[in-house]
Symmetry: D2
Subunit: 347 residues, 4 copies
């Protein structure tokens, strides 16, 4: 923490700030300069609301120096985190797939569970292609109360059945604490959606879960806020957090959201957690999914969330951004070629 | 809804789109032009995901025409909505204050409930000034898991006691459905925070409440998304929604958020709901609160949410943006003068 | 300037940074803390590109402490700047109006010069109302090459004639150095448009002019960048800079731009320059101009730029955001009432 | 163009809008619906300012349907544009390199011309690696008037000498019309910087040039505004426009700008012009350049602008985002491997 005094701050004002810092049980380091004094602060700064110093007379501004996240930071935990997903069918819970830097994990499937037939068909299609995790929502956050809200518990039942039968791992969204137990039972990875990234009650609930959490970036979350949301889950005892970039909100209107691939290198620099990209929500348009999927791999992401639907034009939600099976096969081909050139393995 | 064909779309492609529209039980209105054909669509368009048409061959883009909100829209309900808040102490529940265009309602108080003494002191101070609604959080959404999270149920108890004793109305935040009953019992207005504007489970829960809902704008919510969130509450049967602008997220870094006062006239144009402004969170700095409060009144808002604290520099949260009592008195003076010039009455 | 080392930076890495700082002729102030070392830097920091230090091994981040603007800053020049506009007709160049905190200056007129009759009519109308400055563009920056680009030099001639005849002061935009002499001759205030806020060649040119400069904020300019643009003009010797907020670009789509009234208090805090607001461009809609004009006055702006047109629905550009004369009269009434309540005088 | 009437618009109001449309020499197509009437408009809509209709009584909103750009649009010109750069040394002006979809063109070099030695060294290094275009600025747009502004005409002379000697093509920025002739003589591609994307006087000037134009995207330009800026150059007769994405301004603060790679597929969809990416300015940090460069190639860009400097830590500007020669070599290796997997050739 650094307090910058105004250039015409009086010695008394400086002294008052030094006092206030000591009063917080912190150590001030005054640093007189040609035009102004700055005061470094050391000690357990995290416990203090810095803005209180900012309003003292003679203070120009207050600059935070240390990052507020600990468990999510690479400084505290240098090695990359790998998330192990275990096989739903195997008695001894064999590791089915691992999310992390050495591989490139595909999670694919429809936006929402519509009926058992389409979930079965998709699970079988994906399994044949070697994809071991399927995404599909039973609870759907929709901006309109009049839009299809998902099948709810009935949707979870379908997922559970197909999961047991095919052995595919399930990634599905949890929207509220009321349904946490039900979702936890079916999901191999619990998804927290973009609108709930700062739903702290929900974060505290999944922190108590034994299941990995896929934490989508909030629509206007800074990287720090995103890592702080991960910190909520980790501080509660669940270290299995996978980040997922899905586009942020900007003035730019050529796509549904602005997919921020440039967040990948800083995430890797500041944190040890794996990061996936969701180009389907990021772009909102089927034709733009494949180029952004390839770019995600090239930029260093650890995998993708991709919407795939047996018949996208009949989908109850998000059909316009879903690939059909043939489209997914074409994308898979390109991803494999690219992954090979980059020395990575599709997972 | 309007489908715009590409300039070189073939007659076959146009015919296929007409078919698809009829197949959705809607009526197409083809409109051939010099360079391209556009196709108007009438019927119950709300039930359809328009983007499905967008991916048909020959289609350039799809333009939505009608607004997706109904109950919140002024088109459906021309007259302004007034929200009546009843006296907590009065047996017959007399109307204590009314939020709406004719008055200008002040809601003031500390960021969070810290202890009974400070809540009592603030309630008494406000009551003396004629302010009839006090804000104070028992549950605090904080971006860090290590920051003060509010006193929780203990905080609600304090609010309840002070409310019964002083008769001041309480505005307090609900963060999750688990605490809905407890908050509902104490609150005269239930606040939904900016991070929960699209927490649809929470919106559905307060829709069932008999208490008015203060719906803060999401940090990056468009006006349409905000009105759709209000629509969730109204569609569930609770028509007592008060909107509250509290700053949006932009590139601009001179204040904590960018307070979007220019949303007030469009809200008044498109909706019948009242709108308040929270300049404390909007600016994040005590010194900037008063000018923005005055500007909110001049711009046509129906009231304010203001952070006031007996000793801001000792506050456990948000002290830097809280006014002390003297500062609030100065602001109140200015607001009264301005309100008089505008033919409004402070409430 | 402050260099923050990583928590596991070695003593050697710290020593290397200290060396690098000394090598730049600056003084390092090492500040060891519990988890990491920070290094304060004093000396003439402005001359250095700080990011060079940031890439040294062991460095986590580099934090700039002092503001890069000097002449525009209130720290260097505590008193408010008042800009005097002299009477175009008076031989001895009497002061006609003063822009600054004590008054509230109106600058009104059409988007563009369309013909002499409409300019004359507007100038006479405004003069009758006591408005002493008229805005009107001869050169128009239009996003389409096919849209009306203004009358150019012919437009300037019209403005010059009407100015001499009526004595109204002229505010008109300069788009390039080629037309600087011509604009300078006619303009009492030279306007730099939002798209040219960082056209540094143009800023350097008007820095040499004796005429005051109205510097519109760039569409996505931070406050610091805006004040740095003012610094360009002032560093070149022209201290008569008037800032003008006109809306910034955000995700928000309910108005043409997001009028950032919350920039007014920080401008007043950080700089001594006067600031006007342009609610016509800020909102883009006639009906929203009056509430935002009143809010600007209440927020502490020093005046307004308002589009007024004798027949807005026939205007060649920006008709939808122009007031007609009756609308301007109504606004003027409200502004006067409000100004009186605030102890300000309309100018 | 589509006019949407309010749901309670009267038949008279509809009639009045039909009249107004005919008065503009356009054809109205009324489309009565269940709740409201919409009116399609055909004819030469581009000539009209649509917002004039929007303020008529009974009108709810006005929706533009056709794109305002023509020459830059793929609808008007289906085939991809290839830009040929000719050899500076060859008498008969042999084609040296071609920018367009089949290849992937690298343009590399220092931020600014600092002296002849470093320009020579860089040109030789690049030529050895097969890079045929070098970027280097003689005129530098800097946000501070006190920062290094480039060597100006002296810098151009250095570029000219090295160009003639080594045969490398030169990409250099033009900041104002005053220096247009001088820049035109040296440059093989004239760069228009992000701050000048809507400097329409400058665009009109380079429209008259025989040299290709590299048009950087404005910091907060929508895709449409960017293509309209290209349209300015093309409408003036210069069809050789290369677009360049370099990051946009958003709330996101983990990198200098938000590199918007998701703009690449829509550019390819809507326009026939080639598009490059500048990951150096986009990220602002050396370590993030390589992943974003690879992602640009994977996303379908036609090439890169990369900052390379013999000694980045001594650079007079932008050293922190420049690669050194070894870093460039490593990047080149990766690009080649990736390009091969994608069936493209580095150029």
């Amino acid at each position: 923490m650094l307090v910058v005094m105004q250039s015409h701050a009086t010695p008394d004002e400086v002294a008052q700030v030094l006092e206030a810092i000591k009063h917080m049980n912190l150590t001030p380091h005054p640093m007189p300069g040609a035009t102004r004094t700055a005061i470094g602060i050391t000690g357990n700064v995290g416990a203090v609301d810095p803005r209180t110093l900012e309003v003292l007379p003679g203070v120009m501004e207050l600059i935070r120096v240390t990052k507020p996240y600990k468990l999510a930071s690479r400084e505290m935990h240098e090695e990359d985190t790998y998330i192990e997903i275990r096989n739903p069918k195997s008695e001894i819970r064999k590791v089915q797939t691992i999310i992390g830097p050495k591989t490139f994990t595909l999670i694919a499937g429809p936006c929402s569970v519509e009926n058992e037939a389409m979930i079965s068909r998709t699970a079988e299609f994906l399994s044949e292609r070697g994809v071991r995790l399927m995404r599909a929502g039973a609870f759907k956050p929709r901006s309109s109360p009049y839009a299809f809200q998902g099948l709810g518990l009935g949707g979870l039942e379908i997922l559970s059945k197909v999961r047991r039968r095919t052995g595919i791992g399930i990634v599905t969204e949890l929207m509220d604490t009321d349904n946490a137990d039900a979702v936890e039972e079916v999901a191999d990875i619990i998804q927290i959606g973009t609108r709930n990234m700062q739903n702290f009650s929900l974060l505290r609930r999944v922190a108590k879960s034994g299941k990995p959490v896929l934490l989508k970036r909030g629509m206007s979350a800074t990287l720090e806020e995103w890592l702080m949301a991960a910190e909520y889950v980790m501080a509660g005892g669940n270290y299995n957090v996978v980040l997922c970039e899905r586009g942020v909100r900007t003035f730019s209107d050529h796509s549904r959201n602005t997919l921020d691939l440039s967040v990948i290198p800083p995430v890797k620099h500041l944190s040890h957690l794996p990061i996936l990209v969701d180009p389907s929500h990021g772009t909102g348009k089927r034709d733009y999914v494949a180029p952004m999927a390839l770019a995600s791999l090239a930029a260093g992401a650890d995998g993708l969330l991709i919407e795939v639907h047996p018949e996208p034009n009949q989908a109850l939600s998000d059909g316009a951004q879903s690939l059909d099976f043939a489209g997914f096969d074409r994308l898979l081909e390109s991803l494999k070629r690219l992954a090979e050139a980059l020395g990575r393995a599709i997972n």
